[in-house]
Symmetry: C4
Subunit: 274 residues, 4 copies
């Protein structure tokens, strides 16, 4: 089909698609590079490693940055509509993946630089490309999307509980026991209701401990709700996707007939039994 492909088209297939052998290799090389760069950022933040291998990590950072820059320029040159690519989701992510290192040259402040460095971690999102080919992830996403509304109602109720219980605990325990303000008290409620329980703020009074017990049992009971929502949604989409046969109506060509259907439910013509 692509007999007379120009070099541009060939490169397009390599860096934008993963169907050809070279395209796959390119993608894998890119993913390895991204992971190496992320690990290098992590290690750089460790004091002792920074002292011993700081120079090597800095060099590595610059090599990867230059590779990403060249790749970005290549993509810009190869793509049919460069403007559209620049403002697309992956275009922005690609741009942000090498920007921080260059910005580090101009703004020398170490702390500010660190904040920008954090953005570079978004580079990992590019690896999501991988999952684009994965059918299953769409299935998961669909179930989550379908239950998104129910989950947001649930989260809304949870946030209200956090505000009200936070205010009550602030009044009951007071500043002496670490509940200095309603926001801090709400932080404690989140820590408790989600069953995390750091233990940095802890009720000291008997009444406070009693309310805390109720909050914990409540949290224990309502943890069931989001789980139930997602379970039901996954169960349902599993069922509907599995029950439906792969048959196509010979007349109107519509799909999605149930396994036991003998006639097309859209046009009424008989469906081929086999």
């Amino acid at each position: 089909m692509n007999k007379k492909a120009t070099i541009k088209e060939e490169i397009y297939q390599i860096i934008f698609e993963a169907d050809t052998k070279l395209g796959k290799r390119f993608d894998i090389a890119l993913i390895i590079l991204i992971i190496v760069s992320i690990i290098s950022v992590m290690l750089e933040s460790v004091q002792s490693i920074q002292q011993d291998y700081g120079q090597f990590l800095k060099t590595l950072e610059w090599v990867i940055t230059i590779v990403f820059t060249l790749e970005y320029i290549l993509r810009l040159w190869i793509v049919h509509q460069p403007a559209k690519f620049v403002f697309s989701f992956f275009g922005i992510i690609d741009f942000l993946s090498f920007l921080p290192t260059y910005l580090g040259l101009i703004f020398v402040g170490s702390h500010g630089l660190m904040v920008i460095r954090g953005l570079r971690l978004l580079r990992i999102f590019r690896v999501f490309k991988l999952t684009r080919y994965v059918n299953e992830s769409n299935y998961l996403m669909k179930a989550l999307k379908a239950s998104r509304f129910k989950i947001s109602i649930f989260l809304y109720a949870v946030v209200m509980l956090i505000v009200i219980i936070g205010a009550i605990m602030y009044l009951v325990e007071g500043e002496v026991n670490g509940f200095d303000s309603i926001p801090r008290s709400m932080y404690w409620v989140v820590v408790t209701i989600t069953t995390v329980g750091f233990g940095d703020i802890v009720p000291q009074t008997t009444l406070g401990q009693f309310i805390a017990s109720l909050v914990m049992i409540l949290g224990y009971a309502i943890i069931a709700v989001p789980t139930g929502i997602v379970s039901a949604e996954l169960s349902f989409s599993k069922k509907t996707t599995n029950i439906v046969s792969t048959q196509v109506c010979p007349e109107c060509l519509k799909e999605g007939h149930e396994a036991d259907a003998k006639f097309c439910k859209y046009c009424g013509s008989e469906i081929n039994p086999y």
Copy 2:
């Protein structure tokens, strides 16, 4: 339909219903006001903000209180049966939403005032009006109501476990290790069985740690029960409410057609569209 509506009827539509454009705007304005008032209560409890913006927050509190008072009077004047409104759920909530600020004038005691301030947070319940229009929340509520009985049996069993294990841990660990009384020991069991784990009270003896391990694994295992109940209930109500329409084929009188079916899947005759 409401051509010759008097002013009273028009106002009724604005403040009690959300179907008209003005009614919707009124509701949104009210919700924003409630959220602003809640955030102001929160910020007031933070020491540093209280010192710098205390006067502004106090003024804001009074403005919102007066707006709520006027709104309440308006509702009383407009409604067909004022007495019924006063003692309705939202009537009481509306009344309690401005009461605390006025009570703060009479009773000057700072601590008492704080308790009343907490009540004001109930104002947020009015926002629930929003969800009244949301169909999905009814669906969630129905599933929770249906499983309410099973969940209460489960909670009953959990409370009994807490009492018994609390007594055992009190006997095993004793006052030296922080388990001063059975109620405090029960508080520890709640903290442990719900997997919160503050770490303020912790078993020190080997036997205590062994029993604690059993309690944790138990808690881990029984967390499955309420989740399973709600999942099953949601799964079931989803299945019955969503899949199948209530239409009956006019020819073969068979039921169980999907909502998007136009022809009977058993005999092929057309199904009544309404």
Copy 3:
């Protein structure tokens, strides 16, 4: 039906059954007494309450003990097979409910007495009688029984994980960081894998923290398994109990036909459509 019931039979109906008005009242009185006695045991363990109301609580304890003793003697006299009752589950529980107080007279050692006092809490199990009449609890029990085998396999795998990870963490962290022995290290694994996280023992080395992270994610992932088992079981028993119609075959009188069945699946005769 019970026209010529002797006094013995009447008392039997009151204290062993809950169908008559008097029987119900007797049961409720008993439950209140049990709860009062449990709360009194709890309060007695609180130092400050013990000092102020110790004498009152002691008297209350003796009154309840004597009432329970008399009730036990009454049951023994009324029941048809006393020997069978004595060794039945509720017979033993009834006996243990008043024994500790008498034993407290002979053995004066305060600590030993406290251990026995703990047994008295088993008295609460009698309240389970309540649930015997509740149909739903059987439904829950059935689902748990059905999944009991799968849950025990799961627990077995979890215990093995705890042993292995416990040994690894003992070797990695060592005594310096609080992991003094494999049993204590296993206690830490239980605290971590069940997501309780007390924080009394915490990994200090980088490798230890890395392994701990894996254990936590593992625990997070496998929490899904028991939940899934119970959910599936409840979903299944819900479905099968609900789909089945209440129709009885007019020929063979067997029940359990599906809602869409037209003919009895046991004898082949037509089932009444309505």
Copy 4:
């Protein structure tokens, strides 16, 4: 059937199979020995027990090691293809179960010896043989395998969240509050998102506590996903395997009859019993 079995064949049946009486006894004896050896390793790690019973535990260790060595040699002699057995999963596990004790003779370093001792715990995997006969575990395994792909996508998303939130928290909290490096910050995210919450590292700044609250609610919400996946999978495999038999009505050729159906529920004709 095995009338003229040679001694070799008889021993084979005893140590490799569990169908005969002797084979079952041999397996049970082996399991007891393994458990005893594991408990002995655990107890040896406890300082006080090591001092008092160290000699006895050392002797026990050697006895069990020799028994396992003899058993391994016996298996090698009895098996049809010794080479295949040596490199099979259970062959390697069997070999590793006695190797550490011998290695302890050559390498005297106490710390190194302890690491090898840990390997011995893998011996417990042999007990898995038990579950091979259990049908239910296959059912669980199948459901987990089916959802393995979805769970790995989910874990991938979770790991990415951990990296990104870890970097953000490192920038927000900094070294002063215990978040010394991105890896340590990621450790904190894992502790928090899995709702473990040790409390060894805790956010101190207001912004840090706000982000922590979001992370906890997020963790609380996404705990639903793996649970939902496994629930749906178990629900589905339960439904398909249990309800319906594969029988087809010989008259109307319809399927979907229950396992206990004797007559077709659609036309009333008898179904073939086998």
